[in-house]
């Protein structure tokens, strides 16, 4: 067994620097690497490019990094729900590249799987395709999109073991598996870190080979963005 555990978030983030490119898992506030984000805020590194489906809300998730103006560029598919983000974007302080959600996921997976680029129909004929190579296959038009290049991927899983094997829960899975192994170093934080051998190999979602560092996360807030319920009859 190749051990991937590190004792805490501080060691897990060794090597992060100004001007780096990070991938961060999560959809809205669901499945975000809360511990890694908190540590990045503490380290106060600047000039970051963040690849993440969303940009958090004003006071949680990536919104915390935006508040401290640590982010230069966001690559996302949807950035509503964040006033500070909108202000920085409209004033030009923040560079924003909006890309289709499926393209975002696939550009991560391409990096993970060793594909330099791929064709997708998403965005053809729109401003997303401007300046990009297009090609017809079987009578339909496609846009060439490239794999991401990133220094670190920060992901959050439900359970993980010492070997870096990961299991996700519910829709907190989202972009997290796609980002594992898609950056030079993948850091996984988990709600429950267990000894190797205690997870069933049949039930692993992401094999430890895609993860360089894993640590036991703590104090998860797991904030709900839209609490919707129905009443009992």
């Amino acid at each position: 067994m190749i051990r991937k555990t590190v004792p805490n978030v501080t060691e897990a983030l060794t090597g992060v620097k100004d001007d780096m490119t990070f991938m961060l898992g999560g959809f809205g506030l669901c499945g975000i690497p809360e511990n890694a984000i908190a540590e990045l805020v503490k380290l106060n590194i600047k000039g970051l490019t963040c690849i993440s489906n969303n940009a958090g809300v004003d006071d949680f998730g990536l919104g915390l990094l935006l508040q401290k103006k640590q982010i230069n560029k966001m690559i996302s598919s949807y950035v509503g729900e964040n006033d500070e983000f909108e202000r920085q974007m409209l004033s030009g302080e923040l560079d924003v590249e909006l890309i289709p959600q499926g393209t975002l996921a696939e550009r991560c997976r391409a990096a993970q799987g060793g594909f330099p680029a791929f064709y997708t129909p998403a965005g053809y004929g729109t401003e997303v395709a401007e300046g990009k190579e297009t090609r017809e296959f079987n009578g339909k038009m496609y846009v060439l999109e490239h794999a991401f290049k990133a220094d670190f991927a920060f992901v959050k899983a439900w359970k993980g073991d010492e070997a870096g094997n990961l299991i996700f829960k519910g829709t907190a899975r989202n972009f997290n598996p796609c980002m594992c192994g898609a950056a030079k170093i993948t850091v996984a934080e988990v709600e429950e870190l267990v000894p190797a051998g205690s997870l069933n190999p049949d039930e692993i979602h992401i094999p430890g080979i895609f993860v360089q560092r894993i640590f036991q996360g703590k104090d998860y807030e797991k904030r709900i963005e839209q609490r919707t319920v129905r009443t009992r009859e």
Binding site: F27, G28, L29, C30, G31, N53, S76, S77, Y78, V79, G80, E81, E86, M89, L90, V96, L98, I99, P100, Q101, G102, T103, L104, A105, E106, C108, R109, T120, P121, A122, G123, Y124, G125, T126, E127, V128, W158, F168, K169, G170, T171, A172, R173, N174, F175, N176, P177, C178, H205, K222, R223, I224, E225, Q226, R227, T228, V229, R230, T231, R232
Partner: protein, 218 residues
């Protein structure tokens, strides 16, 4: 004239047995409340769930189980969770049978705009571009006119496009229309709405063939 629930009700009649359906945010979400009796459909949410159920009972919300609108949800028997790349494999690979989404503008050639108002509102396209570029079967749910009373069914979209030539059907508060080679073909009128009302509210080419029936909702 239909309200939002009425639009959802009419669209729900387009659901067919064994359909996998992706519902966008807003009016489309309401379609789940009006599934016709006797058919089986499953709802896909692009954040990674197939077999989406209703909202949870109070106290049973799970922060790890949400839909693409970030609302807490439940799952139905037979449901599954998956990552975002697989989710969009379902969408781009045309395994999802029907996409229902909202729009700011639709053009008579089937172009759709729903993600950006330059200089004003820039929230992003989310999964909409993947959905409209891939789905064979797209129904748009929207109001016929915007808040200023201007038509949202246009000759050409004025806003940045989400997809080109992709919309097939549109249900608005005024009627049910199909995008055909020459423009918007009116299929049904909403209750109490005249053909003249629809003409006045439609900027794009409106095709009216014969008597246009009033839609039946129940």
């Amino acid at each position: 004239m239909l309200d939002k629930n009425g639009i959802a009700k009419r669209i729900a009649k387009e659901l067919k047995d064994k359909y996998f359906v992706n519902l966008g945010i807003g009016i489309p979400t309401l379609v789940a409340n009006y599934i016709p009796q006797g058919i089986e459909v499953e709802f896909q949410s692009e954040n990674g769930v197939l077999g989406m159920g209703p909202f949870p009972f109070e106290g049973e919300e799970d922060a790890d189980v949400i839909n693409a609108g970030k609302q807490t949800i439940t799952t139905m028997p037979g449901a599954s969770f998956f990552d975002s790349a697989m989710s969009f494999s379902m969408i781009r690979g045309q395994h999802v049978d029907l996409t229902i989404l909202g729009a700011m503008e639709v053009a008579e050639n089937g172009d759709i705009a729903n993600w950006k108002i330059p200089g004003k509102m820039v929230k992003g396209m989310g999964g909409a571009m993947d959905l409209v570029a891939s789905a064979e079967n797209i129904i748009v749910a929207m109001m016929h006119t915007n808040r200023a009373g201007e038509s949202k069914l246009l000759k050409r979209c004025s806003l940045p496009l989400t997809g080109v030539g992709c919309v097939k059907k549109i249900v608005t508060n005024l009627g049910f229309l199909e995008v055909t080679n020459d423009g918007f073909t009116l299929l049904e009128r909403a209750p109490g709405v005249s053909v003249e009302d629809i003409k006045n509210a439609t900027e794009g080419n409106l095709i009216i063939k014969g008597d246009i029936p009033e839609m039946i909702l129940d």
